[in-house]
Each structure stands twice: as C-alpha cells, then as structure tokens.
C-alpha cells in the first residue's frame, strides 16, 4: 500500500511539468498563507509592543482584546488554508493527475488564500471609520506646495514601464498570433496601463489614512502608492509577455497558469508590506 503511494509520488514527480507546477504551488502556499501573514502578524505585534494603547491612544480605536482576537482569527485562518493547500498537493501527488489539472487546482485555490487578506483590510477599514468618526484631531495641517507624480517616481521606473508595454506590442506583432488572442492580450495590457496611470494620479490626492499622519509620512505614503501603481503595470506587462511567448511556442496551458500564479504572488509581496518606520509620536495623547 505505502509502496504504491511512494511509487505514484515518484512517478508524478518524474513528470517535469507536474514537478514544476508543484514547485509553484508550494511557493504560492508559502508566500500567500505562511510568509506574508507572518509578516502582517509580526507588524501588528510589534506595533502593540512599541506603541502601547496607554501611551498612544490616538492609534487605537478598539479595545486591545478585539485586536488580539483578530490576530488569532487571522492566524487560524491562514494555517487552515495552508493545511488545505498542502493537503491538496498530497492528494494530487498520491493519485493520477496531469500538470494542467494540478495547475487549475492551484489557480482556483488562490482566491481562498487571499480571503484572510481581505478580512484584515476590512478590519483596517473599520478602524479608520472609527478614527474619522471620533474627529480626534482638531488642528489639521497641510502643505501649500503642489505635488506632481514625477516628484515621487524615479525616471528609470517610468522608462521601464514604457519599454515593457512597447515590448508586449512588438512581441505581439512579431509572434503573428491569431488576431483575437493578440487583441485580447494587448487590450488587457492597455487597460491595466491606463488603470495604473489613473491610480498614480489618484494617489496624489488620496485621502489621508488618518488625520494624525505627519506631513513627511503623508508624502511617503503617496510615494509608496505611486510606485506600487507603476510596478503593477510593469508586472502585468511581463505577465502578458510570458503569455505571448507561451502561446507562440505552443507550450502547455499550465505554463500560463504558472505565470499567473507567480504574477499573483509578486503583487501580494509588493502590496502586503506594512512598515513600522514612521512617526508614531503623532498618535500620543495631546500631540
């Protein structure tokens, strides 16, 4: 019995395509359900330790017990999702599965993995609403200096984004794919590029996370959002490029799904990156 299972695993892993999907699937589980949630949890814990509610009352609008409960829920959910993911891989490995079937399972599983992130986002949003409602900050400050997108973004990133977009066009035309596929790919990339430009402009005047944020951190927050938008565009162009190459060389559909998973993971690595390096003294009582 055990021997049969081991034989089946060895057989599955000897198929390069299956092995490749498994590597990416494991990476997806580690990134989205172990590494990034760990980063989020460490950030929340450090925040509470370094800036306790007694000294920084304007940072917390909910009791500490709520925060602790949320951390536990999030931790439990992430571990549950990670276990299910590992279970799915084990089931696939011990049975007869093709690379494409496994890749479809991997991509279908991704939305389940990101659910806890949205839950945290929702909690954060609720906290911000409470902050706004309290109108804790009576004196509000703003700079009278104008802001431009170019003040926040290095030229090389702009050039890289433009080059990547143009490269997808060139490769698309060169690959001589059928019209519909090519148009869909180029159309999608154009939409995402326009959306990134819209996000960059929106970030310039985006609402402050809270009214306590210092002027320096406000600018840092805007800069971060703008850079994220352009990186999104660069990543998406790379994704489209990989699809065009996969289609041109007639590679298996699983390669396309692998590219989608990698793209997805990278987006989350960039997006979920809470930093504690900002001026928290603004949240002290009477500041």
């Amino acid at each position: 019995m055990l021997e049969n299972i081991i034989n089946q695993i060895v057989m599955n892993l000897s198929d390069t395509r299956v092995a490749l999907v498994i590597v990416v699937f494991v990476s997806q589980i580690v990134t989205l359900s172990i590494y990034l949630p760990g980063r989020w949890l460490r950030y929340r814990k450090a925040l509470f330790e370094r800036y306790p509610a007694e000294e920084y009352p304007n940072l917390y609008y909910q009791p500490e017990s709520v925060e602790i409960l949320r951390q536990k829920i999030r931790q439990g959910l992430d571990w549950l999702v990670a276990s299910v993911g590992i279970g799915l891989i084990m089931v696939a490995l011990t049975g007869e599965i093709t690379a494409i079937e496994l890749a479809v399972t991997m991509i279908t599983f991704a939305p389940v993995q990101i659910f806890p992130f949205f839950l945290s986002r929702y909690w954060g949003y609720k906290n911000q609403l409470l902050m706004k409602k309290s109108e804790g900050k009576k004196i509000r400050k703003a700079s009278l200096a104008t802001r431009k997108v170019k003040d926040f973004i290095p030229l090389y990133l702009v050039l890289l984004a433009i080059s990547m977009y143009l490269l997808t066009l060139i490769v698309g035309i060169w690959s001589e794919l059928n019209g519909e596929t090519l148009l869909t790919m180029i159309g999608l990339n154009t939409i995402i590029t326009i959306y990134s430009i819209y996000l960059m402009n929106k970030a310039l005047n985006a609402a402050k996370d809270d009214q306590f944020l210092s002027a320096k951190d406000r600018l840092a927050q805007i800069g971060k959002r703008i850079r994220k938008s352009i990186i999104l565009s660069i990543l998406f162009s790379s994704f489209i490029l990989s699809i065009l190459v996969v289609t041109y060389f007639g590679l298996g559909k699983e390669i396309f799904l692998i590219a989608a998973s990698i793209y997805f993971q990278l987006i989350f690595v960039i997006e979920v990156n809470p930093k504690i390096e900002r001026d928290f003294s603004v949240y002290k009582a009477g500041s």
Binding site: K138, K141, S143, L144, T146, N205
Partner: protein
C-alpha cells in the same frame, strides 16, 4: 509653507483658509506667481470637503489674491500683497454707511431704505 485649520473653531473653515493664505502673502511666504495646490489636494490633506476649499479659492480669486489659469492651476496674483491688505468687509461697510446717509438726507425712512436694499439685492442676483 504649511497651513493649519482648527475644525473645532467657531470661525468657518473657509474663512480660516482665506485668512491664512492672505497672511502668508502679506508676510511674503507666498510670492506672486507661486502655484497653490489643487482643490482636491488641499481638501484631502486637511480631511475636509472639496466645496469648502473651492469656496475659499473663489473668494480669494474675487479679492484678486489668487488667479485661476484653467488646467495650469491656481497661482498667487501679481498684486496679491496689496489686495490681501484690503479689508473687503470694512470697505463694503464704509460704502453702505455713506449710501444710507445719502438716502436718509433725501428724506427716505429706514424701512423704505431696507425695502430698496432688499430689492436691489434680489435684482442684482
């Protein structure tokens, strides 16, 4: 140059904005030709309604402290320093006192003057 408002103050927010921008101009902190932030930017930074900032900018433009140049943005007026020192409320009050005095001299009663004033206000809209 930083601006600060007190949302708990009895003075309306738009009036605080006008006062501070005029003061900054008079102190030389905002010189002619300098661009002011767009309405959306200032409103989001202060966490207030865009209409409040728009109202302040409208009054400042009327007082020729700032000048709107369409899509290019809003800039400090060339004569902003002189215009900022003009107290428009005081000026209006002085003109009104003079006019009311003249009307009284012609023999009009206070109620007739009030009616005429209301009529003029309505017609000039």
């Amino acid at each position: 140059m930083e601006i600060s408002i007190d949302i708990g103050s009895e003075q309306p927010i738009f009036a605080q904005l006008i006062g501070q921008i005029k003061q900054a101009v008079m102190k030389g902190e905002l010189s002619p030709g300098i661009a002011l932030p767009p309405i959306r930017q200032l409103a989001s930074d202060l966490g207030i309604n865009q209409n409040t900032v728009a109202k302040a900018y409208k009054v400042l433009e009327r007082d020729q402290v700032i000048v709107a140049k369409g899509y290019k943005g809003t800039f400090i007026h060339d004569d902003a320093k002189t215009n900022s020192s003009i107290d428009w409320e005081e000026k209006a009050s002085s003109i009104m006192t003079k006019t009311v005095g003249n009307l009284r001299e012609t023999g009009l009663t206070d109620s007739e003057i009030r009616i005429a004033f209301s009529k003029a206000m309505k017609e000039s809209r």
